[in-house]
């Protein structure tokens, strides 16, 4: 029965198959065309990011530098309240002696210092003394280390080494979530060190605020751009793009000149008599400064997608609505606005995601209350060199953005986003 219904192509195969074949060929051709780009992106973008993110769990340094110690230390009972026994100290002396030769011990010290303050110089000082230690003529290694530095008798130092001796660690992620692992399990860090959760939350709500400000300011401009005659809309477009082409630092510094206490805006308001000289507005080095400067910097990313979407809305729709009795507001609200929503969606995603990752502008105008999580990431990458923690913070930020993107898709629908 079914055979009689199959439509055959000219070469005798079924049309369905032949269609699938040609579609597949098309797909392969398309894939080959984008292959160089894909390869490029993979090699220069995805792979380095993956490598960087991998550092958030990587912890080879302890087991690589102290292989013997790690092995015997695993048998030590960390809750005993006493330093480990002779066997561990002997293994440690042998490991350290090799590590000192290749200058790895100080690296180990810096790594463990992230977990327990003081280990960095303890290891550095001991390293110098271990050089002179004769491994075959030491009766008691434990005594020898006690003589080098009393801190080696402190069980908490050994607890730290034991805890971070595995090849992978969740320590960085715990730290990034304001948690810490103690001998009693995972606990919140002390109140005076809690910072990251606060910064994540602040980054999110300030980015939302900036996105909202961009919609508020960008929508009317995009509307004007899309409805004005070509000649004047081109001039307006240049005004939108000009700051877009100006260096980021120049624009941010310009805001400093405008917003500071003795700056242009305050001077002007005092001159007008709106505010008293002794009561100048605090416009910079706080949240206000960050929101103002970042809204300005990100505004083109809102206006451009809005504009290109609005350009596609035929003016006849508005006229039709009005001819049917709608007033200006009604026509705008019921006919024009719904059609411009895909532009708002696209602009919002662009602005929000860019805002979440900004750090130069908040660093310059944000003071203490207007800085983002990215400022901390930058600090850990370039200053404190705690790349593991920086990577963990970055990974969390990435996950948060992806989660928000998923939520957005679920509730607004990513199909409702249009760039023109």
């Amino acid at each position: 029965m079914s055979n009689t219904n199959t439509v055959l192509a000219s070469d005798g195969t079924s049309l369905k198959k032949s269609l699938a074949k040609s579609l597949r060929r098309q797909k392969i051709r398309a894939l080959l065309l984008i292959a160089p780009l894909l390869f490029f992106v993979l090699l220069t973008f995805i792979a380095p990011i993956g490598d960087m993110l991998f550092r958030s769990v990587e912890n080879n340094i302890v087991s690589d530098t102290l292989p013997r110690t790690v092995k015997v230390l695993s048998k030590w009972d960390s809750m005993s309240g006493q330093a480990p026994d002779e066997e561990v100290f002997e293994a440690f002396a042998r490991d350290l002696k090799i590590a000192v030769k290749s200058k790895l011990h100080t690296k180990l010290g810096s790594r463990l210092n992230y977990e327990k303050t003081g280990i960095s110089s303890l290891v550095r000082q001991t390293g110098r003394k271990v050089k002179k230690l004769d491994l075959d003529a030491t009766p008691s290694f434990k005594d020898a280390f006690e003589k080098m530095n009393k801190k080696w008798m402190d069980p908490s130092v050994w607890q730290t080494i034991q805890q971070f001796s595995s090849k992978y660690t969740d320590g960085y992620f715990l730290a990034a979530a304001d948690l810490t692992r103690t001998s009693e399990g995972i606990q919140k860090v002390d109140e005076d060190k809690k910072i990251y959760f606060k910064l994540f939350v602040r980054t999110l709500y300030m980015s939302l605020g900036i996105t909202f400000m961009c919609i508020l300011l960008g929508y009317p401009i995009a509307f004007l751009l899309a409805t004005l005659p070509m000649r004047s809309s081109n001039v307006l477009m240049i005004l939108v793009l000009l700051p877009f082409w100006t260096s980021l630092l120049v624009r941010t510094s310009a805001w400093k000149v405008l917003l500071q206490n003795q700056g242009v805006i305050n001077d002007f308001l005092v001159w007008l008599g709106v505010i008293a000289d002794g009561n100048r507005l605090e416009l910079i080095n706080n949240v206000t400064g960050t929101v103002i400067a970042m809204t300005h910097i990100l505004l083109p990313f809102m206006i451009l997608p809005l504009f290109s979407v609005m350009k596609t809305i035929p003016p006849t729709y508005m006229r039709a609505a009005k001819s049917m009795g709608a007033n200006d507001f009604m026509a705008f609200r019921r006919v024009y606005f719904p059609q411009s929503i895909p532009g708002i969606g696209a602009g919002s995603i662009l602005v929000f995601i860019l805002a979440i990752g900004y750090y130069i502008t908040p660093e310059i105008v944000g003071g203490t209350k207007g800085v983002f999580i990215s400022n901390r990431i930058a600090y850990h990458i370039s200053s404190s060199l705690n790349w593991g923690l920086g990577a963990a913070l970055g990974a969390i930020l990435l996950v948060v953005v992806l989660a928000l993107y998923w939520l957005y898709d679920k509730f607004v629908g990513i199909d409702n986003v249009k760039l023109g």
Partner: protein, 363 residues
């Protein structure tokens, strides 16, 4: 491993577009007036003498991170790097800087004193070749501080006598020390106190008293700008920046030397250079850190030469013609009450106290 190397190589290449050629040498420093002073005192005479073309790279601010990335990629493109002593310590710890033998690889003083003696305590570790002593200290607006100019670093904490904003660096280092000193801790006990949780809490409590009056800076140029614009009445920055503001730009600003914190800046040579490049880097450093060269730099910028033998040779400013000695942080009149940056303390406590400092700032 190989793919990783290639990837990181790509990243490092992007980071430093200036790869050194055979007759070129890339020297990394801080940029601005500081690099200009090195150009005049070291680079130009060295190039004239040897024909080596020196390329300046103003990346010292991120030197440690970039050197680490370069080293992981196996492609170090820098030959000599100017860093502060604390960074030199970290680079040495990480095995990213070469160890130097001062007595054989650096020039003796003119009277034959060995380099290690001439530099003395300033050689804070095996990799660091000291160049200058600079200090972080305060400048104040003469017209905005009232009739009595501040003479003590504690006036920073005295908002009753000196109302108005002050600028401090957005990091715990120096601020914590000043806070404790002005809270009655003896100078010699500062680091012992700061090593305890109570001591840190005490320092934060002191800083709390002025928190609302502080503008926090992160670039050395911020305080001079804030002072010039009258945004702050006093603020901390590097003494050379204040010298430029006062003497070169003629701003109405005074120096408050009291409580200045000495710090060192100098050269390191990255580890893992080819023999040829290493030899050239060592040759440059031998030349650039001899007694006369270090004294020459002080003609262009008010930082003290790190060699004892250079001090008597410090002369007049190259263009202004004023005596430079009284503007040096090490001048006896300026150095009555000073503190030396404690490298080993901050190497241990930096991460811990910085976390607390950031949490305190965000409160």
């Amino acid at each position: 491993m190989k793919i990783k190397t290639i990837m990181l190589g790509g990243a490092a290449f992007a980071m430093s577009a200036t790869a050194a050629l055979a007759e070129d040498m890339t020297i990394v420093s801080w940029g601005g007036a500081y690099t200009a002073s090195q150009q005049a005192a070291y680079h130009d005479p060295y190039s004239a003498m040897t024909g080596v073309n020196i390329i300046n790279d103003a990346s010292s601010g991120e030197a440690v991170a970039k050197l680490r990335a370069m080293s992981e990629a196996g492609n170090v493109t820098w030959d000599v790097v100017d860093v502060v002593a604390a960074d030199a310590l970290r680079l040495c710890d990480e095995g990213l800087a070469m160890e130097i033998d001062a007595d054989t690889q650096l020039a003796d003083a003119p009277d034959g004193t060995k380099a290690s003696v001439d530099f003395g305590d300033l050689m804070v570790n095996e990799c660091f070749i000291p160049q200058i002593v600079y200090s972080t200290t305060f400048g104040y607006r003469k017209d905005l501080v009232g009739s009595t100019a501040p003479t003590s670093v504690c006036s920073v904490f005295d908002t009753a006598a000196y109302p108005g904003k002050r600028s401090l660096e957005k990091r715990p280092i120096n601020n914590m020390e000043w806070a404790l000193m002005c809270d009655g801790v003896a100078k010699s006990d500062v680091y012992d106190v700061l090593a305890t949780d109570e001591g840190q809490a005490r320092a934060f409590a002191k800083l709390d008293t002025i928190k609302g009056d502080v503008i926090w800076w992160s670039a050395g140029a911020d305080t001079p700008q804030l002072l010039a614009d009258g945004e702050v009445i006093m603020g901390s920055t590097y003494n050379g920046r204040l010298f430029a503001l006062i003497e070169e730009q003629g701003q109405n600003v005074g120096m408050l030397w009291d409580g200045q914190v000495f710090d060192l800046d100098g050269w390191i040579i990255p580890a893992g250079l080819s023999d040829e490049r290493k030899a050239r880097a060592l040759d440059y450093v031998y030349f650039a850190t001899d007694t006369q060269r270090l004294a020459d730099q002080a003609k262009y910028i008010s930082y003290g030469p790190a060699r004892k033998s250079s001090a008597p040779l410090v002369s007049k400013h190259a263009t202004l013609g004023i005596d430079m000695a009284p503007h040096m942080p090490t001048d006896p009149n300026n150095a009555k009450n000073t503190l030396l940056y404690n490298y080993s303390f901050w190497a241990d406590y930096r991460d811990d106290i910085d976390a607390k400092f950031q949490a305190w700032l965000a409160k």
